[in-house]
Amino acid sequence: MPVLKTYKDLPSTPVTFYSTESNKTGTWRTIRPILDESKCTRCYICWKFCPDLSVDVAKEGDFPSIDYDYCKGCGVCANECPSDAIHMEKEAHK
């Protein structure tokens, strides 16, 4: 990723250099999903329907885990979870 200081550092037309992973969208949320593994059946519906790819499943069989760096707190996972293993909680403000 070149260091962009002056116009000389720019490509001739804007092509991108890196992913959006540096854009931690987790700061957007006012509520956050909490997963209760005791209720979780690992059906991965939350992983499937997460618009922000913020439900990580390392490999088949693992429990899903929520990536709070990016989760925007939309609550789709909680709404879609068939076993009520996810509930939304107010974001504790720092």
């Binding site: 957007w28 006012t30 509520i31 925007k72 107010k90 403000h93 720092k94």
Partner: protein, 183 residues
């Protein structure tokens, strides 16, 4: 001329708040200009809005970099955005929070006024627990800090510009005005 900068999140009404302040200032015979930071608004994303108020016509068409007042609608933003950047040494700060002045880790030594705008907003059914609409409460408190704008003009402007729940928004502004201590 005084320059105000409001910090909020998408959907919290920071831009409408700056509009209401401009309307109230014009009602009280002053000149005003209000504009949002022209970013790509997204719900929840930090949003900044600005307002200039003066006795003579305002002709500058440019951003505000050294505000006289900073109004923080969402305290959570203080961890993300340097909300006090460029604040004039004698500038004043208004923050929507329930924490005391000491709890707030604010390096700046400017005068800080606190108001529980969220509590007031929710009392009047404005927005939800997770997405309170705090803009009218907080500008009610602001007018106590900037008496050149009368509370009556502000309430009239709130009723005029509030897209919905006009009376509830006006009551929230009045409540905040009344409980904020004279500055």
């Amino acid at each position: 001329m005084i320059e105000i900068r409001l910090h909020g999140r998408g959907g919290q009404g920071a831009v409408v708040a700056s509009e209401m302040l401009a309307r109230a200032a014009v009602r009280d015979g002053m000149h005003a200009s209000a504009f949002p930071f022209f970013g790509v608004e997204r719900r929840g994303c930090p949003v900044t809005a600005f307002c200039r108020i003066d006795d003579k016509p305002i002709r500058i068409h440019a951003g505000i970099y050294e505000p006289d007042y900073v109004i923080v609608l969402d305290p959570g933003l203080m961890a993300l955005v340097d909300v006090f950047q460029g604040l004039k040494p004698e500038g004043k700060i208004l923050i929507n929070t329930t924490r005391s002045r000491e709890d707030l880790t604010i390096k700046a030594h400017n005068k800080v006024v606190i108001v529980d705008a969220t509590g007031i907003a929710l009392k009047h059914g404005l927005g939800s627990e997770t997405a309170p609409i705090v803009n009218t409460a907080i500008i009610g408190a602001f007018v106590k800090m900037f008496p050149k704008i009368s509370i009556d003009s502000l309430l009239e402007s709130v009723r005029e510009a509030a897209p919905v729940k006009k009376e509830e928004n006006a009551s929230a502004a009045r409540d905040a005005y009344e409980i904020t201590k004279e500055v």
